[in-house]
Symmetry: C2
Subunit: 411 residues, 2 copies
């Protein structure tokens, strides 16, 4: 289906901004490309391309890098993105540590900071966020394009990116964007942490060419970010992808949301660690028991070792998590029919056995022709996927860059 | 998030077609409107509006209808859509009867035909489809814009709208659009029946203003059509909305898809009737037993009467269906966070008690802030919702009409 008509209020200025963004996206994706090739790829006139390139050269975002191969006449001048023209700050407020990084325009990390949250909530968590950003802003070595914030909770984009509800930070109706813009005098974009992870994967992950992508993030909480036809889905109340509170059984533990048996209580990274601890304590034979009693060393790495070693109690916990994730993915396949489903977060350390158990569940629970074409993978990005995605928001919102997924060597 | 840049290949001709569609959509929605008001609403220049209107007048799609109120100068000429300039044929192949209708451009039904399928499948079902369309084409009293086909199954839009898999018609890889275009020499658009129902509701249902809408259709099968940000979602393999094969328990009946316990085996209209029959046969006290043994009169209407009369066996069946639908809707709310969820099909005859049971389940199983803002309703459209939606596809694809949901009286 073609796109519905927009409201038609495109002004010349909007057209120009659109062309600048399009030309920059082409250069970004091609790495090195001539003005003539840009015109061929975009269908824009040479004059429009020339104007957009002049603008981008003027702002220093693009630079000329010598001559390419000739197609007959004089070899053309090649253009590329100047990766240090601006830097990006992206932070991730969803974990036990608040973390963030300074990135160049290609998402290469230049500096990173992590601060243990130590249970801080409310105003104290906000203070720690300031400390994190202060350090990153100070460390930056190029002009900053802005601050990208990945935070748990429902984000009301229409009302100044207010954080409507973030249980683990105990934030209710915090006007986060306003607070940060006032403090740092930089453009700020706030996005839900799972949606940020989806942006990270869509911009920098390995080849998601259909434009449809679901990224499931399992860490302290569990949620998904959904890209459909190349657009991040927000939902009517900014809750698209809140799959952590789907329920697939009739009972189960009380979730922090108040309901019982939510997927998050079974399959979030935190839940897997907690349930493994409980299972180890209940099992006199458990090799994990000493760690569980000490409470300190029992993290996802310890769970991974026990799982790989075949410890019974932990296998049960991990199997339940795989089943829950598989059921959730089956519903995503049935609902959205997105081919690429990517799992990110500490649970990916549980490895291929875990991934296979998830895939089996997806296949058992989905319509065969849909399941056949579904790809469930772990993300190839590291633990900074959310911070990186928050930074990618800046590339998109401030520079109009968007992955075009054009066929390579089209010309 | 703003829209990603398109591929930039907009030509002047595309811009013109876009403007024509936009102007026609405005006239369609406003019912009567002047050229000046169109220019104000669209941001298009008066010249562009004038050209588009001249084109639409020339094709007879729009007509002038006297003068409106003056805003100072000469009262402006008003324009409206000429509802009989073209007619639309929409058909629905998903039920026990193949049915279809001829509609005017506002979706008013002018002629309707129903043919009992009597179990016909494969080539015989295709023959019956021809009979249905022959009758409708013959009955049409205005030039036809085309044929809109709502059919069960996965529709491969990229490969000539091939019906990839339609279990109840026993169609596998049928090139339906090609067959019909060759036979009728008219534009043909083929769409999945639930997606067609979503189009019907989005175009002609009662006020879905957010641009996000899910329509669940429960009849022979069970599926959903999803409109997100004003666009019909297809999915990577044309299976978006195939929620009939979600599974919410560990066992259950074998579904025609081969899996066990699919939602369709619990909550489709056909399943509710079948399960009520089985329950009535097993219950010596059932008032429905005689009908069940006779097998003839036991339809949704008989189930409705037994349900309203409080018959125990049927209450259990209907309660299970409500629970299944509630769980499916909870997953849609958690995944898409679409506010408007509309249920259509014969199950709506089960009335408010059934609807309330569904809503209760949705609230019990969803994140509170999302559930609070979710609206679960029965469709206000009659049983022709799918045929009407298939006809709406033609309005969109052939004329570029799309619901704009502009605030009324904006000027």
């Amino acid at each position: 289906m073609s796109q519905p008509p927009n409201d038609g209020k495109a002004t010349q200025q909007q057209t120009k901004a659109h062309n600048d963004g399009l030309v920059l996206s082409i250069i970004y994706e091609a790495e090195e490309i001539s003005r003539a090739a840009i015109a061929r790829r975009t269908g824009l006139s040479r004059t429009s391309v020339g104007e957009a390139v002049a603008e981008l050269l003027g702002r220093g975002l693009v630079e000329e890098v010598g001559r390419g191969r000739s197609r007959g006449g004089k070899p053309p001048i090649l253009l590329r993105v100047n990766v240090d023209a601006r830097h990006l700050i992206g932070i991730d407020l969803s974990g036990e540590e608040l973390r963030g990084a300074v990135y160049d325009l290609r998402g290469e990390m230049r500096h990173t900071v992590s601060l243990p949250r130590d249970g801080r909530r409310g105003a104290q968590a906000l203070e720690l966020t300031y400390v994190l950003l202060d350090r990153l802003v100070t460390a930056a070595e190029a002009p900053l394009l802005g601050l990208g914030i990945g935070t748990p909770g429902l984000i009301d984009v229409q009302r100044g990116s207010q954080v409507h509800w973030a249980v683990n930070l105990d934030w209710l109706d915090i006007p986060l964007r306003d607070l940060l813009e006032r403090r740092y005098r930089l453009p700020v974009h706030v996005v839900n942490d799972s949606q940020a992870a989806a942006m990270g994967e869509y911009f920098f992950g390995s080849g998601h060419h259909s434009g449809n992508l679901v990224v499931i993030k399992s860490e302290e909480g569990l949620g998904a970010g959904i890209v459909l036809e190349g657009r991040l889905l927000h939902g009517d109340h900014f809750g698209a992808g809140e799959i952590g509170h789907l329920v697939f059984g009739d009972d189960g533990r009380v979730c922090r949301c108040g309901n019982r048996g939510c997927l998050e209580t079974i399959a979030s990274g935190a839940a897997i660690v907690q349930r493994s601890r409980a299972a180890a304590l209940a099992d006199a034979d458990s090799a994990l028991r000493a760690a569980a009693m000490g409470d300190l060393a029992l993290d996802m790495e310890a769970v991974r070792r026990a799982y790989v070693a075949g410890e019974e109690a932990v296998r049960g916990v991990v199997h339940d998590a795989a089943r829950g994730l598989g059921l959730a993915i089956a519903t995503l396949v049935g609902t959205l029919n997105a081919r690429d489903i990517v799992i990110s977060g500490p649970v990916t350390r549980l490895g291929d056995t875990f991934l296979d158990a998830i895939r089996q569940q997806v296949h058992a629970r989905s319509l065969a022709p849909l399941a056949r074409d579904t790809c469930v993978e772990f993300s190839s990005l590291a633990s900074d996927i959310t911070a990186l995605g928050a930074a990618a928001m800046l590339l998109h919102q401030e520079l109009g860059i968007w992955p075009l997924r054009l066929p390579r060597h089209a010309d």
